[in-house]
């Protein structure tokens, strides 16, 4: 039986996602203020309230829950990921299928000192988001090393 993945993401990921959630919530709030006025009184009160709810949930609930659920593990033969707020998704990528690995650092991510490791296969990519930068570099190098064994592709 394959063990469950054990590694967590960086703790600051929560703050990072909260900030993302705040940005999205604020955008929704502004939009609802602008649009709501044109749609009548009920909409003008309800839409901003909904946007505020999105903001609160996006900042206070989602990041913490998401972080608690995220697990990853790089084994010699595969990359194993498990995540999902409500729906639990488990993704396994055999090491022999990895074509290349990259570390992505967004502007916001740099503020928090986190990077995303993207693992590319012929069929697309999977991501380990929000790892501390040093850890991300290690993971990238480890996967690149392990994926070295060329395959007949």
């Amino acid at each position: 039986m394959r063990p469950e993945p054990t590694q967590r993401l960086a703790g600051v990921a929560r703050g990072y996602w909260a900030l993302q959630g705040a940005a999205a919530g604020l955008a929704a709030f502004v939009l609802s203020e602008v649009v709501g006025d044109d749609l009548g009184d009920t909409a003008a009160t309800l839409l901003p309230l909904a946007a505020l709810l999105v903001l609160v949930v996006g900042v206070a609930v989602v990041p913490a829950l998401r972080w608690r659920r995220w697990r990853w593990e790089v084994r010699d033969v595969e990359v194993d990921l498990r995540h999902g707020l409500l729906t639990e998704v488990r993704t396994i990528v055999p090491m022999s299928r990895v074509q290349h690995v990259e570390v992505q650092r967004s502007l916001l991510g740099q503020l928090f000192g986190v990077s995303t490791v993207a693992v590319h296969t012929a069929a697309g990519e999977v991501e380990i988001p929000a790892l501390p930068e040093a850890a991300a570099a290690l993971v990238r190098d480890r996967i690149a090393d392990l994926a070295q064994e060329p395959d007949d592709l």
């Binding site: 999902g84 409500l86 729906t87 993704t91 396994i92 055999p94 299928r97 069929a123």
Partner: protein, 455 residues
């Protein structure tokens, strides 16, 4: 054999090149035609003739400037009008030599030779556009790739009847409808009066129905013609380590796939084919990602009962049992049925409330949803046999069976939402190298985990 001097292609190459040049000249010519034609028809004809003459001269010059020569080590290919390029391909690096025949080549009884090297991608490294048959055999022998007839272990052609059936049941319909719609919109812009008339006439609902039927008819004809063009003369051949597929009416296309690179096959049973027990076999190969569906076809039309024998002959590597042995458990049944029925119920209610006079339409959603959900439930399943994974599911309106080599799967994905967790169910999906994903819904969670761990 000793080295010979450089040789020219068959003179009909000039015609092929001229047509190519004409294609490149088409846009400036069209502009000339429109500008000139608005003044007088004579000048339009003049422009047309000028284009043909220029193209012909270019074609002849190009034929004159193109030579090839084989010495003990390499193939030398020289082409170009002003600054000739010489390509040298070492004989050892030649991966395969393929023949193809376009309409011009067929007219003159010659062939085009494509010399492929590994890493050359889709385009041939060297393309000899017209070579006489005897020359082609001699050349291929000198290049170390004599004609393959002897090498083929298995070969199958698509007969005329099967081609017609394949075209009549072509699955591209869904894609074509918006295209025709867009064309109609464009025609509407170009012909405002026609558009207004149509709009005016189409006040009555049944007129809209007629317009819809016409669009559908055009889409059907286009789809039929498209399939005929794509699959005419379809031919698949297997030798020791390669599959070769040839097809096409106007342009003969040839594809070669080393069997070692085959991730698996997909059996696609479209809505119109399923009732007749007909199947399309597609090849899953990493290198073919993003290519047109036709390019990934291993065989356009087979009887379902012939599939095992076909796979056994052409790709024994992925031949195996075609029926899943892990199916959604009884408790998954209502999860297949309930959501589509709820959606259909909502649609029915919406129709009845919004447009009560269209009540006959409201009879459609529920039976359609029920049929779809039952088809979904019956299709779903998985099987693991040694090195071969089988997944069967519905994609769009087609039932799809994926037979994939276990060691060539790109990723495995299981997912489980809270309600599934309570019922002990989970989705199970895989991706293969071509980028295709297939997911089977609501399998037993323990069985899914076992499947995942076995892979």
């Amino acid at each position: 054999m000793t080295s010979e001097g450089p040789r020219r292609l068959h003179p009909s190459a000039a015609v092929v090149h001229a047509l190519g040049a004409l294609r490149e000249l088409a846009l400036p010519l069209l502009i000339g035609l429109v500008v000139g034609g608005s003044r007088s028809p004579a000048s339009a004809i003049g422009w047309g003739l000028l284009g043909v003459v220029v193209a012909l001269v270019l074609g002849i010059l190009r034929w004159q400037g193109t030579t090839y020569r084989v010495d003990a080590r390499s193939l030398h290919f020289r082409t170009g009008l002003l600054s000739p390029d010489e390509t040298v391909v070492p004989l050892q690096r030649i991966h395969s030599v393929d023949e193809s025949q376009g309409p011009i080549q067929r007219l003159f009884g010659v062939v085009a030779l494509h010399v492929q090297t590994p890493g050359g991608g889709d385009d041939a490294e060297v393309e000899l556009t017209a070579v006489g048959r005897a020359d082609a055999v001699a050349l291929r022998t000198r290049l170390g790739h004599p004609p393959a007839a002897a090498g083929a272990i298995a070969q199958r052609r698509l007969g005329l009847g099967a081609l017609l059936v394949a075209a009549a049941t072509a699955p591209q319909l869904g894609v074509l409808v918006p295209v025709v719609g867009a064309a109609a919109a464009m025609a509407d812009d170009l012909l405002p009066r026609f558009g207004e008339d149509l709009l005016h006439d189409a006040q009555q609902p049944h007129e809209w129905l007629v317009a819809g039927a016409v669009l559908l008819g055009v889409a059907l004809v286009l789809s039929f013609a498209g399939a005929i063009i794509a699959f005419s003369g379809f031919e698949v051949e297997r030798d020791d380590e390669r599959l070769r597929v040839r097809r096409g009416l106007l342009q003969r296309r040839a594809a070669r796939v080393p069997v070692a690179r085959v991730d698996g096959v997909q059996l696609v049973e479209g809505l119109l084919r399923r009732p007749f027990g007909l199947v399309t076999v597609r090849l899953e190969v990493a290198g073919l990602r993003g290519q047109a569906v036709a390019a990934r076809t291993l065989f356009p039309l087979l009887r379902r009962r012939d599939v095992p024998a076909f796979l056994e002959r052409f790709v024994p590597e992925v031949a195996g049992a075609l029926e899943p042995d892990r199916r959604p458990p009884a408790r998954a049944r209502r999860r297949y049925l309930l959501p589509p029925l709820l959606v259909a119920g909502a649609v029915t209610a919406a129709i009845l409330v919004a447009v009560p006079e269209a009540w006959p339409l409201a009879l459609l959603p529920l039976p359609a949803a029920l049929a779809l959900a039952l088809a979904d439930l019956r299709a779903a399943g998985a099987r693991l046999d040694g090195g071969l994974l089988l997944l069967r599911s519905r994609r769009g309106l087609a039932r799809v069976t994926l037979l994939a080599r276990r060691h060539r799967l790109q990723s495995l994905v299981t997912s489980q939402h809270p309600l599934q967790r309570r019922a002990g169910l989970a989705h199970f999906g895989v991706a293969v190298g071509s980028g295709a994903h297939l997911r089977v819904r609501h399998l037993d969670a323990a069985a899914t985990a076992a499947l995942r761990d076995a892979l």
